[in-house]
Symmetry: C2
Subunit: 348 residues, 2 copies
Amino acid sequence: MPDNNHLHNELSDSVNPAYHQKPGKLNSAKEYADGIQKGNRAFLSRAITLIESTKNEYRELGYSILEKCYDSTGNSIRIGITGVPGVGKSTFIEKFGTYLIGQGKKVAVLTIDPSSSVTKGSILGDKTRMETLAVQENAFIRPTPTAGALGGVAGKTREVILLCEAAGFDTIIVETVGVGQSEISVKTMVDFFLLLMLAGAGDELQGIKRGIMETADLVIINKADGQNIENANRARSDYQHALSLFPPHPSGWKTPVQTASSIKNYGINEAWEVIKEYYEQVNGSGYFINNRREQLVYWLHEAIESELKTRFFSQPNVRKKLAQLENEVLSGSMNPARAASELIKLSR
Amino acid sequence: MPDNNHLHNELSDSVNPAYHQKPGKLNSAKEYADGIQKGNRAFLSRAITLIESTKNEYRELGYSILEKCYDSTGNSIRIGITGVPGVGKSTFIEKFGTYLIGQGKKVAVLTIDPSSSVTKGSILGDKTRMETLAVQENAFIRPTPTAGALGGVAGKTREVILLCEAAGFDTIIVETVGVGQSEISVKTMVDFFLLLMLAGAGDELQGIKRGIMETADLVIINKADGQNIENANRARSDYQHALSLFPPHPSGWKTPVQTASSIKNYGINEAWEVIKEYYEQVNGSGYFINNRREQLVYWLHEAIESELKTRFFSQPNVRKKLAQLENEVLSGSMNPARAASELIKLSR
């Protein structure tokens, strides 16, 4: 039985304190699951905190909740949005999310910020940056701590997506900063991947991980307003041509390049039209469902590897020996494969 | 003490039977290492077979040989060359290798063909395709079996590179078919990555894994001869422009796009000039040595993960349970993370 005090302490440190001001007692998995499926946001938020917990017992409760909700998951389109800092992701998502709510959608926005963690992070920044969207009844905004999280940079985002779906959100937006490994992970948990860029290439490209552009399903040249319009249009046509030279999408989809301006509210509904068109095409061809199945198997194997590594490296003698072997490998006195064998022997 | 008969049986099945017609007795690690460092090709070939062996005792002997050679490794430029089937890789490498030998270089060519394995493979194809190069005294051509090899698609290529360096080869070419995971692995073990393409985009792009083009250090539009010249030149300028729009190389290097024709012997020495220029730039900046150090640490961790997985999945009850859990995950009755926990518990 989980110790409520521990959880309350953890909840008070949580990234989303607003939902936990009166944590009350811990409910059963069934109560949480029922509440979530009726759209209870406090329960949704609590379940997310449980699943993100570093304590096994809380995480187990979180998984139990998720499993009881499982039949209500999957009925959404999952959209990954990435771009370097300064590209205008939050403003774009605020406009985009508000537009979708106007179309009758229920929108969950999960932001993955590798610089944030459970106890210290850019929470206020995230909350205030999307304040118009945040107050909407049909919106749910949740920053995901990643620093130090189990399961790598994307933490438990996959499970959080499922919980949001169970709570009735039909459009899930996962926002990442396109500068690290996180967008690679995110690509494996979304249906559609949108890359935001700025016109003028140059400096802002520095941050984008190579290989990301080729995997986008839609590229948007953002901030196409004022004196920027001409540059943005030129960039649009340049990138459209460039992408046509690169290997094609496995589904046969041709990645469009568009322009957008959050200030002018331009390019927002156009982005949604593209996503709908994509969905129709890949749903019709069977690619959509196949891709989700492949993602499931991928995540199973990712989770197995992650658990194997966590268990192995949690042994103090392994960690100590690893540091020594890394030195020997770097100094050239030992081959990596041999060093690996030596290390593995420790836990036999 | 290794059982010679086993090794001899394995050697007679080897991918490179020519070097093993008279296997004789097994020597000591020191004898092999001394022989390799004196340029004994039969010993080099034997050591490679030992390191590629699936038998622990042979592999251990292989690693001992490698470790005794370690001080003689590293003095080469390691070049990865990839491209889809039909792009003309082998012909290009034959011309390129022959040119390098004319420049006084000693060239080892390691071909990774995911379709080949130790006992069945495209060995004859590989041998005959490079027959001019193969007969050169300063060339060493070795297909690497990958199907079923330990350590993933790239097998023991990293260790084979080191053995070739110890034998005095100063230019190592690793050839992969750019259609699978192998070129991702290869990228992490070479200094320079060359992508061969054909003009006209379209069909041949189907095979290239997305993300590969952005990581190339040199793109060559091959078969730029006859009626193809005009198309090739247009493709060259298109790709050069396209690459300029993509995220830059971490070293600051600007990936050039060139044309080449193996028939006309054109673009071969130009490719080498680019590689030399790259080497001077990244060696001067410290990127070269840093990159090799990062690769070493990467390979240590890769090797650890690979051993952890091999050990875990070699348990019959784990394999049986995995099949069952995969079904439950795919049917939606279990979450991947929970399934992973269940599986891990089996070996506790």
